[in-house]
Symmetry: C2
DNA sequence: TAGATTGTTAATCGATTAACAATC
DNA sequence: TAGATTGTTAATCGATTAACAATC
């Protein structure tokens, strides 16, 4: 927490983690920043600078031990501890995300879905029960929840986010098409699918 | 195409588009870069710089006409023309994305889903038929397809992407957890959900 | 015309890349 | 030890912000 690390660096860390995981699966024991840079199409300088924001994980003349570095980046990203996730809005996208989170091995666990639609309440999605929104407060009192995923129409998202924050939620994975206004102790990570699609559309147009 | 516009700028354009759309819905006729900057929590300077990459859309002493600017950004992003989309991998996420694309009004239209799972073939998702992968080539010969969405396990994604490229696809919206290697005339836009979740996890850890 | 606000140039800041001494 | 490669400082590049003349 000493120096603030730039979001540009943070955005790249999961990618390092992914490549190191693949190297690990291929039984690669060590790798130099130069080799990794070729694999990832980035500069070796950037890799070393990025990593050295968090400490010296390599060894001169040797490079980086793949397993060690993978583990360390995992710790940096907080993947060494389980995160309990709930999801608000058990529609199509919500159900897909619920499945997704549970299938992606380790460190994130979907523990409850919520919806206002009575028809969905009581059903389960990949083994997780759908509760009515009115049960939210009760649920939060009885379960530690680290992250709330928001997969609902944008008109309701802001209001639900406010409610979540009031009930003590401090991390929101937001799929709704709005920028949530939250207190500064609350972290929001946006997945704006239509923004992504528009970027793609722009880049098509340029060719 | 004269000067290359930085991806940092491109990433912000859909967000401008969204805010202007909301202003339009609220019947706001004109807005200054200063007012918009307060709304969006960015600097007025940045807004003016960003827009002037594409031309002068404002008027001194007046500001920007909301409808005009909204339309212009729409054109820049290529939203004035319809994009036909197909999707490979009609699983949970795939079906959610198919719905999503069709519900989000205008300029993107899902016209076909593909899967290797025989059980899914012939069914429809939000009115769009699921075809077997073996029909892909035929389909592409008979339909103009602008974008292929990839919602399948990472092990198959690279192979399918290669196939798509061979069949002439030049834009891929990639949800698979890999970085696709494609020729430089092909555009890839990644949505790496687990990267997003890891970023969130990191930012939680920092508080 | 006077006031407002753009478009654009200049200044600053931050991020990336290059270089190299430290060291395994 | 000699060779390799890191960690880190310095140089460069690009993006953001500030300032202001142009102009509606």
């Amino acid at each position: 927490m000493e120096r603030e690390i730039s979001q540009a660096v943070i955005r790249r860390m999961p990618r390092y983690y992914r490549y190191l995981g693949e190297l690990l699966d291929s039984n690669v024991e060590r790798i130099s920043s130069n080799e990794l840079s070729k694999l990832m199409h980035v500069t070796a300088s950037q890799i070393r600078q990025d990593l050295n924001n968090f400490g010296g994980f390599g060894q001169q003349g040797y490079g980086y031990n793949v397993k060690f570095l993978h583990d360390e980046i995992g710790k940096i990203l907080g993947l060494n501890q389980m995160h309990n996730v709930i999801l608000i809005g058990a529609g199509n996208l919500g159900q897909a995300i619920a499945n997704y989170v549970n299938f992606e091995r380790l460190s994130f666990r979907m523990i409850g879905l919520f919806d206002v639609n009575e028809a969905k309440v009581g059903k389960t999605v990949s083994g997780v029960e759908v509760h009515h929104m009115s049960e939210l407060q009760d649920f939060l009192m009885n379960n530690r929840v680290d992250i709330a995923a928001l997969t609902l129409p944008k008109d309701n998202a802001e209001k639900v986010a406010e409610e979540l924050v009031e009930l003590g939620i401090t991390a929101i994975w937001n799929f709704a098409h709005v920028d949530l206004e939250v207190p500064e102790n609350v972290v929001v990570q946006n997945v704006h699918l239509s923004d992504s699609l528009m970027q793609l559309s722009y880049n098509i147009t340029q060719i």
